[in-house]
Point group: C2
Chain length 385, copies 2
């Protein structure tokens, strides 16, 4: 039978001719060539022993980047927002009291999903870009006594990193589970699920892990797994039912859905690259690129939205200088330099730039080149530093 597959194949040109982009936006981030190579490897079936080997490797490597020993650590076959829905639909039930710490767009998305699950939602709101202090967060939880607490560790809409130790401690005191959005931080900053006390953390493949989008890593603490086991009503969502997915990916390998070998290959390669670099080296590289970025944009006269100790390393949010049209700056970068960045939205529309420095682009050289192009684009939009 080997004769069939070994027949020479003419590698015609594909119909895909993407423009050359340098992805300095909040995500997706630049992808390493080895990940592209992995994506082009021949698929196997979703129940093939090789697929489960790749899936098992991914689980092992994900535990390291999440900073956890949780058994239930694997990937959902959907993008990061699908991971959010998995977390919320499995652990929030109708009538359940849920506290949402709300300081950005993705906190609002958490709230919206919890509302759709029928939660009794209590929101603690802060302006986007600010974070919650340990005392005020703990007091709020102690007063409200919710069953679930949600927060966003790295808010992509604002650039602020929310520490979670005090939130988790207070939540556990009142018997609540904690859901944390780690979409932007995973792979670029310490997420530290176990040390922080997070019960359910989800992320994406396309930011700190520097893989194309398409899957959502998730991890669930033994405590949350126990709660789930005891849950009596079925998740309204069959596709995101963690019990069924866990059974498929970790226990019996019983068929649930047809997972994409292609996407698993890509994630496997991205995580292998992280192992090769060393997780702490990778964090340090992102931190250094971030510090260099801040120094240089402050050198251009720009001000950062978030106070220094609360900044996300891989997602920077300098304010748009007065009188500058941020859309013009973004258009110049894209059209003249092939550089994608993003603007603010919601409360921060027109007020900030959102600039990702992550993955292969988190190096001194790339930051230098970026800031050069950025400075020129700002000046082209009338900025005088």
């Amino acid at each position: 039978m080997a004769t069939i597959a070994e027949k020479p194949v003419i590698m015609d040109e594909t119909s895909i001719h993407p423009p050359q982009r340098l992805l300095f936006g909040p995500g997706p981030s630049q992808v390493h060539p080895r990940v592209y190579q992995a994506l082009a490897q021949p698929i196997v079936g979703h129940l093939d022993a090789y697929f489960f080997q790749i899936s098992s490797d991914i689980q092992r490597m994900l535990r390291k980047v999440f900073g956890t020993t949780n058994d239930l650590t694997f990937v959902i076959s959907a993008t990061g927002s699908g991971g959010m829905e998995t977390a919320i639909s499995n652990f929030v039930t109708p009538g359940m009291k849920v506290v949402s710490f709300a300081n950005g767009f993705f906190c609002d998305r958490q709230s919206e999903m919890a509302r759709r699950q029928g939660a009794e939602l209590v929101r603690f709101e802060k302006p986007w870009g600010e974070v919650f202090g340990d005392e005020e967060a703990a007091e709020f939880i102690r007063r409200e006594k919710p069953k679930v607490v949600m927060y966003v560790q790295a808010e992509t809409s604002a650039g602020a990193f929310q520490r979670g130790e005090a939130i988790c401690k207070a939540a556990h005191e009142v018997g609540a589970l904690v859901i944390a959005d780690c979409v932007t931080s995973l792979g670029a900053m310490p997420v530290e699920v176990d040390r922080t006390g997070i019960d359910i953390a989800y992320s994406c493949t396309q930011k700190g892990l520097s893989c194309p989008p398409g899957l959502s890593p998730i991890t669930v603490s033994p405590r949350a797994a126990e709660w789930l086991k005891a849950r009596e009503t079925p998740n309204r969502s069959w596709y995101f039912d963690l019990k069924l997915i866990a059974d498929y990916l970790t226990v019996s390998h019983r068929y649930h859905h047809t997972a994409s070998a292609t996407m698993f290959y890509g994630l496997h390669e991205a995580l292998t690259l992280i192992e090769e670099e060393g997780l702490e080296n990778r964090w340090r590289r992102h931190q250094q690129a971030h510090l260099q970025f801040v120094k240089q944009v402050e050198g251009l006269g720009l001000e950062m939205l978030v106070t220094p100790q609360h900044r996300i390393w891989n997602l920077n949010t300098p304010k748009v200088p007065q009188g500058v049209d941020d859309a013009k700056v973004r258009a110049t970068l894209l059209n003249d330099h092939g550089i994608e960045i993003a603007g603010g939205f919601g409360q921060l529309a027109g007020k900030i730039f959102r600039i990702g420095v992550m993955g292969p682009l988190a190096t001194k050289e790339h930051v230098d080149e970026f800031v050069k192009a950025f400075g020129a684009a700002l000046r082209g939009a009338g900025y005088k530093s």
Copy 2:
């Protein structure tokens, strides 16, 4: 800035070394090399003009394979089962009367999802492998007067193709919408959404379209779109909310989730290959490969489960001959020939083989080679024809 991306890159070996497989199972199916090439092209952002161009091309090409002029024709960022959940969660509300034509595993999955949405479910059951006659189906609908009718056009668990004209006509008479699962048929057989009268059809990328799994094509009739517009309660699922997804992919390009350029590239290439071959030529090729397959396995003395006029062209279900251990046959094919096929499950466990002949493998030469290996594996498992 061009200097950065143009730097030579060392293309190291990836960590992915899959075994060589010939995918003659029910899916995923063999993938054309040009699709793999497309998957390895550099990504752009999920809001990039190039991404929307690719997405728009996909929508145009999908309308042709679906056989529809529906505006709302695009892809969901999840696998085929995610498409099923999109269809059901958007159009089935708590307390709604839903009729399920149930003659296979994926019909049962539709039922399960409808139950989770709180439907009042009425099932018309048949043994797996049989189909519903026009009269009995229409009578059942007229008697039950449901709001939604669900059926599976091509049941992968059994190999039977369900015609839908009578179902759709009766459903529309009583004012019901029709949801049809076209996961296995799309791209390999005429699906004919508009001619049949289907309101919501969903599929996958990894069978008849011969692309890796990861996305789910869906199409929604104007009638169903009107119903959805008037729906007052939000879909419990935010991720699968068709209003939000349609807004992102077709109307305002307003951000919903971070769609995967990679997966869109692959699907674009797979659909381009279909356009190049010609849709009717492709159907004919699958039909001919199917007829040849049936002739040859009948020549081996095997019997097909499904009567000739109701067979799915690209998914064949010959019965396991008496006294033959089907697991042994499958293991021999996999280990000695690198060929994946599947067995039956549920009602048909141990009773049938499920053999996909689709995509690049739907040719006379591949069928010849397959049946040669299959015959040898059967004899190795004690079969005497």
